[in-house]
Symmetry: C2
Subunit: 206 residues, 2 copies
């Protein structure tokens, strides 16, 4: 039971401590930091957060975060609408976009199936993906979820939903990371990279 | 050069990444968390921060954070106004208050002297402390700063400013922490705790 010298101060500490990974000590430190910043600086932080929550939208096609009804990628004529990469959230879209190697579009699930956290298939945008595949001539669905138990479960659930449609289902290549020493690769990854070995000429092209 | 799918999203990430100890990855994670919270919850975070910065005050006597002109401790008749404990910031006040063993008042410096961070004596409330000691019959000033180079420097600076006044200058007892095994105490602390040993009966009273 800490005794705070100010209600305003206490409220800020307790609000910040609600954020994931931020305990009370960190919240105190952040609050003291904010007190030392200028009023406009603190207002721009507070307003950015409120503004975003109130005005952000989700692309009606891929469900990615967007400032308009259709995100930049879905509204871009240059992007292949018949190749869809299924990802967990916006961070994955940003990571793949940063490679500049992908010219298709995305489908953002908004999470992965996780019974422990109480997230089931209906909490995600899986039905919308199935509908998209049924309604359109989607050539390929690339399942690009994390290789965790939850990611694999979600991949398999999507696979079962889509396997009877006339659509190619692929997943990211798993293997030894480029630049990594072979001896430090884990056994499972190394084993897969031998089984799924690729033509050397295909590798040279990259 | 990340390509964000939304300006609103990007603004929140970049505002959060300005906080100390929060990098871009953490800011992204926090922003995604905020997006999943309800509008009232996010508004109460944003408004708490803005509200605090705009309306918080500092006690005109001890400079601690306060909601009014005089903080609760300085306006409490039961507290000894002639014993002043000098601390770095509000966290130290809260830590000492939690012991419930101190009945004096405080003087919050607002930092410690740190040439590296460009903080000199004039950036702190040292002059106000000296004035308080000159003007009033202060019995005792307890210097309770951290035992770091900066803390020791600040202690010594205050000591030089106050030593010619008719006021007792003390500092916190340093020694082996209660509950700690002797063999794990560092040499400097252990050495000090032998030199500054106390009467056993005084220890029993605590």
């Amino acid at each position: 039971m800490d005794h705070y010298p100010s209600k305003l101060f206490e409220e800020t500490v307790s609000e910040l401590a609600k954020l994931p990974g931020i305990g009370k000590k960190t919240a105190l430190r952040l609050t003291l930091f904010l007190l030392k910043q200028s009023v406009p600086d603190v207002e721009s932080l507070g307003n950015a957060v409120i503004n975003m929550r109130n005005n952000i939208r989700f692309c009606k096609q891929c469900h990615n975060i967007s400032d308009s009804e259709l995100c930049e990628i879905c509204s871009n004529d240059q992007r292949d609408k018949n190749t869809i990469c299924v990802v967990e959230d916006v961070r994955d879209v940003m990571a793949i976009e940063n490679t500049t190697l992908y010219k298709g579009t995305y489908h953002v699930l908004g999470g992965i199936i996780s019974p422990i956290e109480g997230i089931g298939p209906d909490d995600l945008t899986i039905n919308s993906l199935v509908k998209k595949v049924s309604d359109n001539k989607v050539k390929e669905v690339i399942m690009a979820l994390s290789t965790t138990i939850e990611g694999d479960t979600t991949n398999f659930y999507i696979y079962k939903k889509l396997k009877d449609h006339n659509t190619k289902l692929t997943t990211l290549a798993r293997g030894v990371a480029i630049g990594d020493e072979l001896e430090f690769a884990d056994e499972v990854t190394l084993g897969r990279s031998i089984l799924n070995r690729i033509n050397y000429e295909d590798y040279l092209v990259k």
